[in-house]
Structures are given as C-alpha cells and as structure tokens.
Amino acid sequence: MSVDRVTNVLLCGIGGQGVLTAAELLARAAIAAGHDVKKTEVAGMAQRGGVVTSHLRFGPRVLAPAIPDGETDLLIGFEAAEALRWIGQVRAGGRIVANALRVKPPVVHQGLFAYPDDPIGAARAKGADRGIDVRSLDARAIADDLGNMKLINTAMLGAVADLLPLSPDALRALVVDVFRARKPALADLNAQAFDAGRAAVAAEAESAPAAAAS
C-alpha cells in the first residue's frame, strides 16, 4: 500500500457500456473532495465490444497513472464475467461490486469458449482466501423497473457510494446535477436509480455476510 493512502478504483466492463463515463463522475467527486486524481481512459480497438478498464486513483498525491498490480481497493464490474476477469488486481481485503448482467461475446456464441456458469460465485470462491468481499446487484433490473436502460450506470454508482472514502450524498448530488444539466427530464430517475443501487448492495451485505463465500 502506498504511504500516501491513495485509493485505487478499477472499473471494468465492455466497450459501449459507459465505464469511462462512470469513472469520470467518480473522478469529479474525488476532485470535489479535494483529492489529487489520475484516471485512465482506453480508446481505440477496445471500443469495439472488447474489454474496457478505467483506473481511477485519488488521494493527497497520485504518482503512477496505473493502479499497481494487486492494489485495487474496489473493483466495479459492469458485467459479471468482467469482474471475475480482473479479480487478480484486487488487494487482500479489497472489495468487488459486480453487476449481475451477463453479456456473451461472439467467440462464446461461436462455440470457441465457454461463458462461466456462475461468474459471481466463481469470484467469491477465488477471492475467499484473500478475504475479498464480493457483492452483486442486478443493475439492469433496476434500470428496467425505472424504464430506461441508460440508468444502469447510475445504479452502479449508487451501489458503490457507501464503499468509497467519499461522501455518498455528495456523489449522489454530483450525479444528479450532471444529468439535470444535460437531460433535465432524467434527473429524478437518476436519483431513484442511484438510491436503488445503493439499497441493493446494502441489502445484500445484510443478508450475505462478506466472509461467507458461496
């Protein structure tokens, strides 16, 4: 761990899912809280349905642009198997919040590779010996209930709001303000999606203690 207590958040998903936008909002929240911030973006070939990651680091002073191997405090998976893919980057005692959404790529449909039966369960099993706390939520169902698939990202941000050294209320206000400025009609829906994501992870934490690996 860095002596400067830098917080490392790794966001992962698939090109087109809005991973970079979510990372941008978290970065803004960290800046607003007075932190130094570094945040990577990946472009180019990765945008074409491939694997996308964004490294977000914040603290008093951030040096390296990328999160050192195995030092991720919080892994945010926008797709279930992607969360499993990057579990090796999470530190002992770190956390994973994963969307239960499963997206199979063409190479799986073409029969070349298998999609894991239970990626979240596999992540729990793999992370158990390092004390990694894995939580999941169905952000797509939350977005479906509210009638707009674009709310998945906001639900994911709500899901991690209580797991970061940032004020959950400030993050919520920032997310809602951004949408109020861009798409006023969606501001209230975003607030609801944020709260629903936050509640879903809190409920899961109560019903399934972190130590219990399935």
């Binding site: 941008e24 070939m45 191997d69 090796g88």
Partner: protein, 624 residues
C-alpha cells in the same frame, strides 16, 4: 465533457494528456494545426478544433499534415502537427530534411507512442527521431506536464529555430489529471522570410546547413543540461539512483520512494553533464525508459556504468509492479523470492476480443471472402476491417501498414506460384486508408498490369479511431460541408477499366458474393466499392429489427457465420445424419435490441426463418 474549451485562464480542470496538449497549443497562439487520426493521439486535434482562432484540419496522411504545418511555420504562424508513432514513419521524409533547414515560427510535433500496443501494429520508440533528425525531444509524464512542456516546446522551437518533438505515450495521452490552464498568448506573426539558401534544399544549400546543424546540436545539449523541465526527485537511499522519463518516472517514484531519481523532461539531446553529476552521487544507476534502450546505450557509449534492459523488460509499460520486482532482484532482497501478485486478467475467463458492430457494412464482405477462402489470397489493411482476420471469418492473410493491402496484393499476385498459382488475389482497404496511402498503390498496380481485386470498403468515416472526417466523407473537422472525392471517378481516372469498377450495397449479400467471385477470376485490376456508412455514424439509418422464428430454425448455423454480434446461439444440439454420423446443430436467435435490420443475414437463412420483429414496420422484407 472532454473538451473544456470554456475553462477560464487560471483555473484547474480534469484533462487528459491529449486535452492538455490541445489547450497548450491554443494558449501558445498557434494558428495552424494538422493531423491524421491515430490512437492514442487522435483527440489532440479533435479537441483543438473546438478552440477559436486555430485553423485545425485533418490531413490525408501524416506526411501531408506535417508539410502543411511546416509551411505554416515558415509563413510565420506558430503551427502544430500530431500523429501516432507509426505516422512518423510516413512523415519522416519531410521531418528529416526540414530538421536540417530549420523553422521560422515555432513548430511542435506531437508523436504518441502506443507503449503496450493497445491499438497498433508495432511498439515503436519515437525518441530515436530526435537523435536521427537532430531535434529536441520533450517527454511529459502526465497531463499537467503535457500542458507545460507544450508551451516550453514552442519557446524552444523558436529559440533554436527547429521543430520540437513532443513525445507522448498512451499513459500520457489517455490519463486524465487536474491541470492548471492559462490564457491564449498572441505572439507576433513572424512573416515569411524569403531566403532560398535556407528553404530550398538544393545539395549546395543543404551542405551549407550541416555545420549550422552541428552548432545547433551543441546549443541544444547545453539547453538540455540547464532546462528546468529536467528535475531531481531526491531520496535518502543512495544505493540505487534512477534515470527516468515520462510516466515511467512517476511509476518509479511510487515503486521506489526512497531512491533518488533524475527525471528527464528533455530526453534528446541528453543532459550528459547532469547525468554524470547524478551518477557520481549514487552507488548504482538504473535507466528506466520506455521502451528501447536509447538512453542506456548513449550513457554506456559515454563511459558510464549503468543498468538498463539487462534488469528491466524491453517491451511494454514499466509499471509500479515491474519496477518493484526489478529493484528487489537488484537489491537481492527477500521480495525477489515472493510470488508476483496475480496481476493480469484471469486466465480462466474467456477472451473478449474487439468485434465488428451489429449491422457493420464490413460483415458481409468478410463473410463472402471466408466462403472464397480456398480460391483467394487476401491482403488486409489498417482499420476496423483488420478484425476480418479473426473469428468467424479468418479472411485475411497479411496486414502490415497503411495502404499496404494494395501494394502487397500486387506483390503476392506477381510472386505467387505452386499451389497458389491459380488463386485470385484480393486487397481489402477502407476509404480513409485508401486516401491516406492506398491510391499510389492502385496507380502502381494498374500501370504494371497486375491482377488484383481491390475491395474498397467505403464506410464514409475513419472508423477505428472513433469516426473522424476525411476527403471522402463530404465534411470537415468542424462538421462543415467539404468537397467529397468520387471514388468511382477517381479509380477510373487512375486507369481501372470502367467495366471493372463496381459500387455495391454490401447488404445485398448474394450480389456481392457473385461479384467478388467473378472479379477475382477476371485477369485484370478490379475495384469493388461498398457504399454503406459506418453504423456508429449519424449517416447510418437503422431499419426495424429482425428476429428468428424459433420453430422454423433448422440449426444450420449459416447466419452465425456472418459474425454479427446481434446474432447469438439459442441452443446447440447433436443429431445424427442419415449416414449415421454425428452432426452439431446451432440454433440462432437475434438480439433485437442490437439488430439494425440490415438484412444481410436474411440471405444466409435457407428456411427463411429470419423475419421482421414487426412485419408492418419492415415492408422491405415482405415475402410472397
């Protein structure tokens, strides 16, 4: 959210390295900027185009872009040019000679190296251009430095009267950090200096420039030894000192916080006197550089005993983990024996390679080529369509660099023999790549009477880099209307026979297949131009989605072979044929949320099981 052109001077903003370079070019008072898109450099010009009072424009290739910038700088305006690392290979002709002639108003050339090859065909170290062309190299470590160093580069360019190369890497270009920005300066226009002995590179004039270049080299070396872009990050543990630059210097500081670091902001010419003084104060010196051993080699030649690529990897990013592990090995500490943290992606999880998009107009050309696989050799090119080399098409035999599909197909056609003698040869190239460097190859092909079928996949954008404009789109960088090249007329003008030039709709799959088969058998140059736009651009008009009638699907898997991500496997079954052999059946479904209704897959379905989700909304598909 990307371009913060309205950020006021004196304030701080979250900017990527690319955003920061663009901001600083504007602040430096540059009036002209030209670039060709290429990851990771593309966003520099895109962002710069949003600022006022800069004539920002896409060039058709990097050589053209650099020459436009050179001309503007000679005319007296501060100018800018950006490219990815391989772009400089194209621009090098202009670079090498103009470096000798020098410059009038400031010229900064940003070259972005794709360390780790996230989206490139090779990993190239652009710092060598500094040594090769006798030009200074400035190397920022993050976005804040990218901003400051760009401003410093203009000052240095005018002080030394030569272009300055700003060497960026992916971890500078695409990493955002908080940057303090300033106001736009208004440097006086320098005016054109009519001086043929300086600007006309006749041998006699060029020869006279050589001693001046030597003097400039010496002055630049003195500058490098005093510039405040190079700093020492001190540390108490003097057993190992690091000489580093770029993002690797910051990773080194994090990995080894107690080690003194000479952090070089200018990496060519090297600050040799400062390096000697630094080395004298530590027991051992390790050179931390991405990616080639340029500094290491120079220091060894200067008689310094340094460690470098014997200790650190020769390829890829020098991350904190890599540097910690190397230092532990050097110091012989216990860490060396400890297993490295499980770093990369989990090996048990399937790969998720980039794919073509649902409804992409490149899908059916590669489907057709995959069906003709045994009858043709296929030379590919740089763009989204390079994905045609992958599953399920596997319809590409070569891909080297921009435009090389046409020329290498030419070589394949005249060099093939044996089992390949009777095969047709196909070149697959996109619209922007054709205009970048493919045109000359076609001219050469026609002139030399080779037999190649050129498939010009015109999707009216630079797709892979995110949809930029070019002379074939009809629009300029600001979205304004621009003259649009007529590809059919262009290739005819180059001498392709009119009856061998075809502009076709790629979604009409059977027609496309027959055309490719016919043209690859005709012993002449043919050009097949597909004419439907990229589905990610506004020019694409989606149609209502399709679906698979479950009870009609026979499990033949024909539609899966198109490779459209919207077509998925519903279930697999194994059955037995009449002759008793096991047969795998693949039943398909279409994810209507992604389907663009392009119709290409409909023609692959023998039982006509692919139908409109809403027949009333899709009159084109009515069947008798």
């Amino acid at each position: 959210m990307n371009a913060l052109t309205d950020v006021s001077a004196g304030s701080r903003a979250l900017l990527s390295g690319n955003d920061a370079v663009a901001r600083a070019v504007w602040e430096a008072g540059a009036r002209v900027a030209s670039a060709y898109p290429g990851t990771p450099s593309t966003e520099i010009l895109e962002t710069l185009a949003r600022y006022p009072d800069v004539n920002a424009q896409w060039g058709v290739n990097e050589k053209v872009a650099l020459e436009v910038a050179i001309g503007a700088a000679l005319a007296g305006s501060r100018a800018f040019c950006a490219m990815k690392h391989v772009g400089m290979n194209v621009a090098a002709d202009a670079l090498m000679s103009q470096a000798l002639a020098g410059i009038n108003a400031g010229l900064v050339i940003a070259v972005a190296d794709d360390v780790g090859l996230s989206s490139s065909q090779n990993e190239q170290d652009s710092r060598y251009w500094g040594r090769f062309a006798h030009l200074p190299i400035l190397e920022p470590a993050d976005a804040q430095e990218a901003h400051a160093f760009t401003l410093a580069a203009y000052a240095l360019s005018e002080q030394a009267a030569c272009p300055v190369i700003l060497r960026l890497t992916t971890r500078v270009c695409h990493v955002k950090t908080v940057v303090a920005v300033g106001e736009r300066q208004t440097p006086a226009h320098k005016g054109f200096i009519r001086d043929a002995r300086r600007w006309v590179m006749l041998p006699a004039n060029a020869k006279a420039m050589l001693p001046k270049q030597d003097a400039r080299d010496a002055a630049l070396s003195r500058e490098s030894d005093t510039t405040d872009l190079t700093t020492i990050l001190d540390g108490p543990d003097r057993s190992l000192g690091l000489i580093a630059s770029g993002p690797a210097a910051l990773s080194a500081r994090e990995a080894l916080p107690d080690a003194p670091i000479l952090k070089m902001g200018q990496t060519w010419p090297l600050p040799l006197e400062r390096i000697r003084a630094f080395a004298a104060g530590v027991d051992r010196v390790l050179v931390v550089e991405e990616t080639e051993p340029l500094v290491e080699t120079e220091l060894k030649a200067a008689g310094l005993d340094v460690l470098g690529k014997d200790t650190l990897p020769r390829h890829g990013e020098l991350s904190v983990g890599v540097l910690r592990a190397a230092a532990a090995r050097l110091r012989g500490t216990a860490d060396a024996a400890a297993p490295a943290p499980a770093a990369g992606p989990d090996p048990d999880v399937f790969p998720r390679p980039p794919t073509m998009c649902p409804g992409c107009p490149h899908l059916s050309p590669f489907y057709c080529l995959s069906k003709l696989r045994r009858a043709v050799l296929i030379a590919g090119d740089i763009g989204c369509y390079t994905l045609g080399a992958g599953h399920p098409w596997q319809a590409m035999d070569t891909c080297t660099c921009m435009g090389a599909s046409v020329t290498m197909a030419h070589g394949l056609a005249i060099g093939k023999d044996g089992d390949d003698a009777a095969k047709g040869v196909v070149a697959v190239i996109g619209d922007s790549t054709f205009l970048h460097m493919g045109m000359q190859g076609l001219l050469n092909l026609v002139y030399n009477r080779a037999n190649v079928t050129v498939m010009l996949l015109d999707n009216r954008t630079v797709g892979m880099t995110g949809g930029q404009e070019h002379p074939g789109t009809g629009f300029g960088i600001h979205g304004e209307e621009a003259p649009r090249v007529d590809f059919v007329a262009l290739v005819k003008a180059m001498g392709v026979k009119p009856e061998r030039v075809h502009s076709v709709n790629p979604y009409a799959l059977p027609d496309l297949f027959k055309l490719i088969r016919t043209e690859t058998q005709v012993p002449e140059v043919s050009v097949i131009i597909t004419n439907q736009p990229c589905v990610l651009t506004d020019r694409h008009v989606p149609h209502p989605a399709l679906t698979v009638v479950e009870e009609d699907c026979t499990g033949c898997g024909g539609c899966i072979a198109i490779g459209c991500p919207a077509i998925q496997v519903a279930r697999r079954e194994t059955t037995t044929t009449k002759s008793g052999k096991p047969k795998e059946l693949t039943f398909a479904r279409i994810d209507s949320a992604f389907c663009t209704g392009c119709n290409a897959c409909v023609e692959t379905c023998a039982p006509n099981a692919i139908v409109p989700l809403d027949p009333a909304a899709h009159p084109r598909l009515e069947r008798v």
